[in-house]
Symmetry: C2
Subunit: 313 residues, 2 copies
Amino acid sequence: MVNLLSVAQILKEKDNIEILTHHYPDGDTLGSAYALCLMLQTMGKNARVITSGTPAQKYDFLKNGVIEQEFEREFVVSVDVAAPSLLGENQAEYEGIIDLCIDHHRINSIVAKEKFVDADSASASEIIFRLSKAMEIALTADMAACIYTGVSTDTGCFRYSNTTPETLRIAAELMEITPDWHRINTVMFEMKSKEKLRLERMVYRTLEYFCDGKGALIYTTLEMQEEAGVPDGELEGLASIPRQIEGVLLGITMKEKEKGIYKVSVRTNENVNAAEFCALFGGGGHNAAAGCTVEGTLEEAKEKLIKAAQEVL
Amino acid sequence: MVNLLSVAQILKEKDNIEILTHHYPDGDTLGSAYALCLMLQTMGKNARVITSGTPAQKYDFLKNGVIEQEFEREFVVSVDVAAPSLLGENQAEYEGIIDLCIDHHRINSIVAKEKFVDADSASASEIIFRLSKAMEIALTADMAACIYTGVSTDTGCFRYSNTTPETLRIAAELMEITPDWHRINTVMFEMKSKEKLRLERMVYRTLEYFCDGKGALIYTTLEMQEEAGVPDGELEGLASIPRQIEGVLLGITMKEKEKGIYKVSVRTNENVNAAEFCALFGGGGHNAAAGCTVEGTLEEAKEKLIKAAQEVL
């Protein structure tokens, strides 16, 4: 693995750079990608971000200041992408041709010419912050807003156990650069559309406990989503509901993505390992937050998950 | 108003000190009070905290390390108390005999021999942190846990607009002293009892919009509370529900405290002033978060509040 100064050196030497995010892009992968894109464009280089799937509208502001440039790619960077499958619709085109992988997931299976993976960073955006220092780039308000978005969203606004004193000091520095930090917090953590709230009320009704209340499961179906009028990109945040319940060690959130295909988010407390649980279904992630995909009818998928959970708990 | 070094000097000279919190005590008033109590006891002084109302059980850990001491009071300090009426059951005994008032509310009507009110501090606990430096006291893990609790709860875990870069730097320093910061976040911001969740589901059903969705109101009644099995001290957090809804500028949460008496929490967005709104009902608070009490039947109380809100919006 290269160190951060080498990453800075590599990027200084390259041009015509494409930056890849993971699919179902979140605040960290998008914040990292657009901040890096702005940094590279500031250095006079051509750069663009390639997302997999259309990001939710609330992330539109991350593109502020980014210039659309026409060029033929010469160098590919992935940010916050832990595995080739997470490239989503871009996997076919990009797997195997990634030049530089920047990530913070403990397990990273991307094949790239150079890799910088720092699992002690709470977010990929923290790495981009440090990279800006290594590249001696003075952060603009737009860059700081991107990085703040990643740093705050990946730590649940500095609430989760991955937060470090350095995370807070980085955020303090970013607050001094971007006046938008509070608007970002509001949009990322507070605001819910009336439709989202309607869906949440429906989701609360699906709550079921298992293993004497040590497990909890909620779900959304395409039908519920349609009835509430919520677009796909706005399903974030549901995953934290089951784990918040006192006594729950393993919380499962199932979201029907296509008929019979459920995207599953698992959140755990104490010593239950979410990544290991999701690995049983071919997924992965962090110790306390991981994901996988399960197929079948609602009842079948639920049964598979609860059965596996019963073995773990 | 005295400066912080004078506050430190005054406290160094005094002994047999009682520290008062506001009623319905929250993380900031309790965190400030117990941290200060620990600091004074560390200096070899007698000190105790006098709360108004029994704090919720989740705050019990704030007493860690505090020694119960028998003494006759010689000096009275109030922390985070903005007005005499907020002393609650202690008002009759203590109004007029407070020696030192430490607070961060812009409007503070406590009469005290000396006052230190810093409205730029996000929490009273931030002031206690600075006071520990002025008093040259090395914070213990217990003190840091108290201060962290106040600093984080009064900023919604660093999410609200009152957060400053200094708030984050203080929190970073506290994280380095107390290993408990994450458990504190979990208890303060994540954990919900199964009963609380049941009540929340009931509260969601009371949601009503007014003024074309610019206002939203929810309520709990004693009956709902009893049906869900939730004790009074566990009603926190409900107040943030209405303001989170997109387009809502003024969110009202009514909690029935006694038959026909509603404690009202008001949260506002943008330029709607919550303190001014609550002042119409004899209450007060901050620009974006304030409280008051309204009497009457549920329908009467709702009507009064919505009518007043219609004039403001």
